[in-house]
Amino acid sequence: MLNLGTSVYPFEDVTDLVDAAAKDMEVGELVQVPSFSLFDAMCAIVIMDPKMDTGMIMDDTATGPVYNINRRVSPTEFIWIFDNILIGQMTWLSGHALSQTLFTSCHILRLLEINQEDDDGESSGLHQDPTQPPRDFLVAVLKSCVLAIAKSCALIWSEMRKGQVYEEEDFMTNKFGVSMFEDIPTASLVAMLDQAEYWMESEGQQWIKYHCGSDAGEVLKGVMERIDYCRSSYMALFQVIAPKCSQYSQAGPQLEAMQTHISGLKATHALGTKVEGAFDHTIHRQLVANTPPRAIALLTFDETIEQLAQMCTDLMSIGKALPFTSSANLVNFFILFGSQKPAPGAFPRSILQTVLYEERIIMGSRKVDDVVRESIQETVSPVTWIFDNFDTLQTRLGGAGNTTPASESHVLATIPELAEDSISAYKMRIQTGVVMFVEKATKPFVDTLHIMGQNTSRQRRNLRKIVQLWETLQEQAEVFDADVHAVLEELRVQHRGDTEEEDQEQPAAPFYFVSWVYHMKLWVMEWLLLLGSELELYSPFEYSMVYAYVDSVLGAHAQHLQRIRSIIESEVLEPEPVDPPLAKETSEESSAKEASELKKKKKKKKKPSNASSAVSTTEKVIEYAKPTRTILMWQFLTSVKMQLTRGVFLVLASLTKAGHLTTTPPHIASHGMNNLEMLFAHRFKAFRLLSSPEALPFDNFLSRLECDGLDSLAILNYATDYFSEAQRALEQLLLLSAAEAQVLLCEDAWRKDIMNMIKVCIASKIGIVGLQKDARMLEFRKSTLEAQKRKLGTSSGGGPKLTTAQIKASSSTSKTTSVPVFKAPVRKVVFEWKYHAWWPVITLAPPPSS
């Protein structure tokens, strides 16, 4: 009952007044203030409605006894309580409310009521028994361990409050005003754990030895493992969340110890003895929440251990990535971290984002400008002087993160005074622009990496915004590149004047900055499209248009990467060692060498025509730059992805032609604008306004689907070729070392991903063998052959390979084979995603038995 006398808030009963006023209203009339929103409506709780009023004490739960928090516990009871608290912790970490997980433990909520003096009285009856466990199992051991878990959760909570992950969706931070003992100093906790350990060694183990029979050894181990686990897990978390990654490196050994103890917990879990009443699952009735709790399933202990171990592994891998050596390795680490299956938990994802970027420092170790610069350098290898004077100019421009257009104008105005000659002045002008550009590039670059720390649903949704960020930067890069070209041209003219060489070929304009931005944008677009598959958003009738689009984006990317490579390879290296070589250049040379080796392994690529003649008219040896390892790896992977995508697309096209698969949306109602063209526009609308790549027109997709008039079996042959090519390339990739593949921070995950792609290739080829026996496909072939016979040998047998150009060029008006009227039945198409979330293996279900 509400006690009006002690109510905190002034209370006035207006029931009669409202009742009287309501008499003037008709049934159905509503008094509603405009500000009363759906949120208000949904937050309203009807008092004394048992379904809504969670504080209501029901008859069946009203009489439960209150757990005696000072009840002594035996070592095996300690194990059971501890393990169930751990289950609560990990269930909370998996996204549920504290009120239904950790806070159901009476020991967590009433920890400070445990004390040495208060004995447990008569209620437990244990003190009558001479074999009753010593009180210190409760006071020294259980209390300190529970405190450690509570304080560990407080550390986790403080991280999760940073907002790197999504409230309620990823994690619930509501503490219901309950303390997690944040005010108890770490030193006190450590002292308590020391005391627990000391007591166990001095007295506890003796008691266990005499009272736990043949299990004594295991029970002792179980207790000690839990004390040790508490120490290592608390210290590990403490170090992991220390600001600016200042202690992360020390967390490694603690995390390793934690993993060892997790195995110990698992091994001794079965020893636990249940303690009735130690967990109160109706505790939420006493905690203030804005919504009634829903039934949840707690994790099992095995799941708890599994998730705990995974959390340790993830935190360790982040720790190992902190001292990253190159931007490419860092990017690959983030890509593979974000695409792990099963996905990392919310806590490691939050940590990943926190350590990524703080006060313009990446991973607690390097300036963001350096990392962005390095990414540009690794990708497009601009002329080396372009990044010179970076720090000096950045300072003149106002310092990192503080540059403004005004400061840029000021610096540009002072360049004539600073530069020694006109050439230096030209260069310095561009170098100033580089500082400004790198600063602008920081946000898209960091935001893109941040995305990997989000859940996959959010990744896809936020990537749409990231595409726009890169698009905007691309516009700015285009302007800047035009400036760069003007200066390069000026320098070239001056250089030509000096050497009086006029017959040199004009190299293509490099577009360094646009190239880098466009490359990043294309990668994000691919990722965005393929995440749709991973999230199961597409229906089978949409698959062909999706994979056609992915193919077109990958095609644009492959073309772009080849352009970058050609530009690099046409760059004439300065022969004269006038300036002292920088350390950076030395490393570049070695990386170029490795890249060259990689290239040999990969594919023999012809040198540009001007490069093949290594002797110039002046008989000087002209040395051309070599593409970086980064660009070669991107080329390789993009090519493989394109082959896989094209293989999948061709299988879809083949099945579409045979009538097993439709591209027509279901529309029993015809109430929506659900024709395929409309959906095509909707699915890819994020790309329609981009300056580049050119959006794939719907008609082009249709003509791609037509596959140049080939019959289904012929299309499948080409699909097999693409899967075979992809498989060969992937197997070659596996031969690379982690350093060559630039996956030093995530080699295992990378190899696993490559293996999964190989599995897609193998399974797809096997699947195609099955498809080739399909009656409709055979009917189609027969019809094609008959048509060919009628044309009296106008076509030769093995046609050329179905190339990108052909796929693109084939138009609806081209030679379209007439599809026969099939007699064989339509079969159900089966999509199998178990090998890779981005590419399905496609087969047909057995034909319906007649």
Partner: protein, 266 residues
């Protein structure tokens, strides 16, 4: 940049209908301020799945003769139902006569109790009466009831909303609640109600219609996909029981690029 959490209204999930879909969950997760799904900031509900199987309901389905608005809607619906049944194989062949069903538009608060009882049967946690009134008083023409003609009881209900959405100014219809009494399922009552609601929202100017459903509720997803809805987004752990949702969308009018919310936000 990563979103910061902020408590916002939420959704209640609803139970799976036909075929014993999953149950209830609860208010789902909150949307961060920069969410691309303003829908969740208004709260939402997951529709009950309804059966996709046809039945002998054709002969007993009748249209409303009550209110003007509803009458128009249900008349047009009856045509499409008739068309459907000509192409769908009946799933059940029971000879027992089924009670005839009338479809009526929402008229007044007198119908509310029956609607609430029906929906509450499918929910672990009920909506407060204010939630019903939020929808019914603002968009009364977008709610329909299926009535057992003989018993005069409400055995199916759909509740919807229509308002401009986010930055795009597109009129977004939203199916907030759908429930069909268990013993009346597999008679296309759910799909009939959905079709009536779609027609009503289209007539009222809807550019698109959305709803959320648990990603495991395959029968509901199949039902809506057959009506032309696509899975537009996946919402991670949308419901408090930890289950993801799909946001399904039906496009009623072409999208204008310039009004694309994602582009505007960017």
């Amino acid at each position: 940049m990563p979103p910061k959490s902020k408590l916002k209204p939420k959704t209640k999930s609803k139970t799976g209908g036909g075929g014993g879909g999953p149950t209830p969950s609860g208010p789902a997760a909150t949307a961060p301020p920069d969410s691309t799904t303003p829908e969740s900031s208004h709260g939402s509900s997951t529709p009950t799945s309804t059966t996709t199987a046809s039945s002998t309901a054709t002969t007993t389905t009748s249209t409303s003769t009550t209110t003007g608005g509803a009458k128009t809607e249900s008349s047009s619906i009856s045509i499409s139902i008739s068309n459907n049944n000509t192409t769908t194989t009946p799933a059940t062949t029971s000879n027992a006569p089924l009670p005839p069903i009338d479809y009526v538009g929402y008229e007044s608060e007198h119908q509310l109790q029956g609607m609430m009882s029906l929906i509450e049967n499918d929910l672990s946690e009920p909506y407060s009466i204010y939630t019903y009134r939020y929808f019914l008083h603002q968009w009364p023409k977008l709610s329909f009831l299926a009535m057992d003609r003989e018993k005069g009881t409400c055995i199916g209900v759909i509740v919807c909303r229509l308002e401009p959405h986010g930055h795009s100014a597109r009129n977004r219809g939203y199916i907030a609640m759908l429930a069909v009494s268990k013993e009346y399922r597999k008679r296309k009552i759910g799909s009939t109600l959905v079709l009536m609601a779609i027609e009503a929202m289209k007539s009222a100017g809807a550019d698109e219609i959305v709803l959320e459903t648990e990603y495991t509720n395959l029968s509901a997803i199949a039902l809506y996909q057959q009506m032309g809805f696509i899975k537009d987004k996946r919402l991670y752990r949308y419901y408090l029981n930890g289950v993801d949702a799909f946001r399904l969308k039906l496009l009623c009018k072409p999208e204008l690029l310039a009004l694309d919310p994602a582009l505007v936000q960017a």
